[in-house]
Symmetry: C2
Subunit: 526 residues, 2 copies
């Protein structure tokens, strides 16, 4: 069963141009007040560097993949250049396509992928796996040093639901399936994966696995790495086929080495994931807390009581107050405080049971119930923020996000330090918003959204802020990324997080699986 969706994202904006969001008038006024408005349109035409690629390699690729799946035209190359971080968009808007791949290759199977890798080794070509193109940390920007060309390995033809096991509640999915495609195929069997990152509409199954994605419902359904029961990967050293049981003691868990490997160890060609029955009902509640700290304590209490809703998120005072996208959602916004959304999915009985228990805990802890409207508003807009970012970039506002995670006892410090680092770098005029979007028994993630008036060199402006925030995270003992992966943007901090011996291990695995260094060179491994 194959659903091919060839919709490609705009080259210098998020998503589908038809879904683009005009900036609401109220927001426009607010922004003018805060930053001034400077229309900053993207460069209309721009030239790609000429593709450099050995012609024999091209002929070989065409011979076994088929001419129509070996693309060298400008548009195909442009659409697979970098990902969708704000720096990526700024470069695209400036007409900088210097990171364009030379060739786009679309394999149809694991064996096709293996043959492309073999050919890449033979001709010394970089291979950059491409799923949804939604990377935000530079994972699609391969280094060319010493290589003869760059292949973008677009997995768009590998979109099968290969197997459904309704006894074990697992499904085997190919890597090119986008979020909605995977859900549609599973829904035919009454099943769901329940994985909804903000990039859901475009991001792919392979990308979720390769980057250890975490979704908006991961409190209830689990992070993507926790869903993967088995996987196959093609590597220059041969095929990996891992996962014989939900868990075992047959040595180190090598699945966990491929998860998060960002295309640097191999190309994930299928994953077998845990699935659940499609929820019969969903219910979302809004809560107001007097402070971010009080709301965070409530989240911790739930996590440590084993009473975790399917969705739970808490905005800090700034994010709650601004709540740019939908200022109505907190109810009477003059009341201030912090907005929490809790969501429940499942059978009516399970939802009721859990919702009642969570409501009791949150009420006891001092939360004020806000009814269902804030949750409904959040659900409505949950995948829309990247469109809003484009609209803000259009009027000269630099907007970007970054995220981290730490243990509960360290959360206040990390929050304060990262916020101070961002404000310090971008100036007092900058707006720094934060929410907690993923909770565990022992800790939580912090997700920051930053807005500032664009400087003359917005790339350099952001780099200063990003560096300050990243230093603050690592200095405070937090992780450099909870769910955005390492790519090239976080690489300078990885050694400080996992230590020199950790880096040595990554290099050893890389050298073993990819001795020629053709897999996503320059990504992940310091």
């Amino acid at each position: 069963m194959t659903h091919v969706d060839n919709r490609e994202m705009h080259t210098s904006r998020w998503g589908d141009p038809a879904s683009a969001t005009a900036l609401p008038e109220a927001a426009r006024g607010l922004i003018e007040l805060a930053f001034g408005l400077t229309e900053t349109p993207a460069v209309e035409t721009s030239v790609l560097p000429e593709g450099r690629f050995p012609s024999e390699a091209l002929s070989e690729l065409r011979a076994f993949i088929g001419d129509e799946h070996v693309l060298t035209d400008d548009d195909s190359r442009r659409r697979r250049t970098r990902g969708k971080s704000t720096p990526d968009l700024l470069k695209a808007r400036a007409g900088d396509w210097s990171d364009a791949p030379d060739v786009v290759v679309r394999p149809a199977s694991h064996d096709d992928v293996q043959r492309v890798l073999d050919l890449a080794v033979a001709h010394r070509l970089a291979v950059v796996p491409f799923g949804g193109g939604t990377a935000v940390t530079g994972g699609l920007v391969a280094r060319r040093d010493g290589l003869a060309g760059v292949i973008s390995l677009d997995l768009v033809r590998m979109k099968a639901l290969r197997d459904v096991d309704t006894v074990s509640m697992t499904a085997t999915l190919e890597p090119g399936l986008r979020g909605p495609e995977a859900e549609a195929l599973l829904a035919e069997h009454g099943l769901t994966l329940g994985h909804y990152p903000q990039s859901f509409e475009y991001a792919s199954i392979g990308g979720f696995a390769a980057t250890r994605s975490s979704g908006q419902s991961s409190a209830g359904y689990g992070r993507f790495d926790a869903l993967v029961m088995a996987l196959t990967a093609a590597t220059p050293s041969g095929r990996l086929d891992l996962g014989t049981a939900p868990a075992n003691a047959a040595g180190p868990d090598l699945r966990q080495l491929l998860l998060g490997s960002e295309g640097a160890f191999g190309v994930i060609t299928s994953v077998t994931v845990r699935v659940r029955a499609l929820p019969e009902v969903t219910a979302y509640d809004g809560w107001r807390w007097p402070s971010f700290e009080a709301g965070a304590t409530a989240m911790r209490t739930l996590a440590q009581s084993g009473l975790v809703p399917t969705v739970i998120r808490l905005s800090d005072e700034s994010e709650t107050a601004l709540n740019l996208a939908r200022p109505e959602s907190i109810g009477d916004s003059n009341d201030g405080g912090c907005l929490m959304i809790t969501g429940f999915e499942g059978t009516p009985a399970a939802v009721d049971l859990r919702r009642v228990a969570v409501t009791a805990v949150l009420t006891n802890l001092g939360g004020t119930p806000l009814g269902e409207e804030p949750g409904a508003a959040w659900v409505h807009g949950r995948f829309h923020a990247p469109y809003l970012r484009d609209s803000l970039l259009d009027v000269g506002v630099l907007v970007e996000t970054l995220e981290t995670a730490t243990f509960w006892s360290n959360l206040d410090r990390v929050y304060a330090d990262v916020k101070a680092a961002l404000t310090g770098a971008l100036g007092d005029g900058a707006i720094v918003l934060c929410h907690i979007s993923h909770i565990y028994e022992t800790g939580a993630s912090l997700y920051f959204t930053v807005a500032a008036k664009q400087a003359d060199d917005p790339l350099a402006q952001w780099q200063v802020a990003k560096t300050a925030a990243s230093d603050a995270m690592i200095d405070a003992g937090a992780t450099i990324t909870h769910h955005h992966a390492v790519g090239i943007d976080h690489k300078p901090w990885l050694e400080r997080e996992i230590g020199p011996v950790g880096v040595q291990v990554l290099r050893a695995v890389k050298a073993s699986l990819d001795p020629a260094g053709v897999l996503n060179p320059g990504v992940l491994i310091p």
Copy 2:
């Protein structure tokens, strides 16, 4: 805070001689009927091979660890020879101490461990980490090829509770703490780890981590690998310090590479584990099912409804009928069927809520409630089976256990195939019992207990059965071990489970962390 418990286990039996169990008369009669009784006492005296160890290395060790912690006497060496599998016991009973280490070294700190490793590399000495000495797959038997001697690195002095974080609900434990010691230290803070493998009374924290242990309450508390938030390890290449958050996307999860590494990649010198509040109440219920299949389906239903008790186990018809240790626990045993135990721990409210929900599901599915007695009996005897094994070995009965795990849809096949393999190898007179002791949403483990009349060469007799069972597991796509680790006994099957490329990755990591090959040589890595 350091609790030093130097109680050592009997050299050729399990545990504390004072706790040894005389075979109940009823069981004795049954055994005589089934197998005949052949008293088979252990050899009284036996000679150790002379320790071969470079004298300069010994002097260096003594200089920095202290004379009293560098032991070369026969008794110390004998007590750290092999583990407690039935083959290990048979060899000990026969007076075979050929695998004795040459020196027992007791480091007090991470830095001590690091210095021992550096010295081992310099003098080409094998280092075998030793915790509780409860290994059952040969993980304490290092290969001597090309090395100048074998150090048993006894972690008995590293027993501190280094840190308690009651906000994050984590605790940092040293590797030498035995199960009861760790629980006692945590209990002073109102906390528990909740990790109760059958070896609990002797097994150590470091061993739990190095072998991916799973306990009798792991349905509720999680497998040990799921409890580890952070760890430190000493390796010949330097220190590893991993774990900045409950979960992250900062590349592959390297914690999962050290967990299950069985001393072959490094010596785990501390783990930071998730802890929970000591349960205020515990409640155990017995259930009877008409068949193993019906009981397994009920377990699957619970797991896939998110209604997992803290403890859940299901004996097959044979194990239920025999129930050697306590024939009273199934109630009127003439009713046959299969015994299930469910256990609940926590606050009274949480226990009630969950117990009521589980009871409703099990009743609906056709389970017959047996009240609290079967659970109480199980709790009473839960750590006692290894003593019973000694008593059976005394009368000429070969007893051993083995275990596996698979996905639910494959469980019936694995159960039938392994049982057939064991019966085929040991003859129709053999008794093969099985229970399901660990469940997940997508699968479960199977734990087999085997008893047969000892042949003239019981080691060879068992090897044939073990090989047949292991082949059956792998042929059926199950894992070679759910919670006993690889050691040397499972090594012949590991490549069939993780593939040649998986083995290549393990070798690459080993070569990177332990280029001289001194860490537990011959263990884990094919």
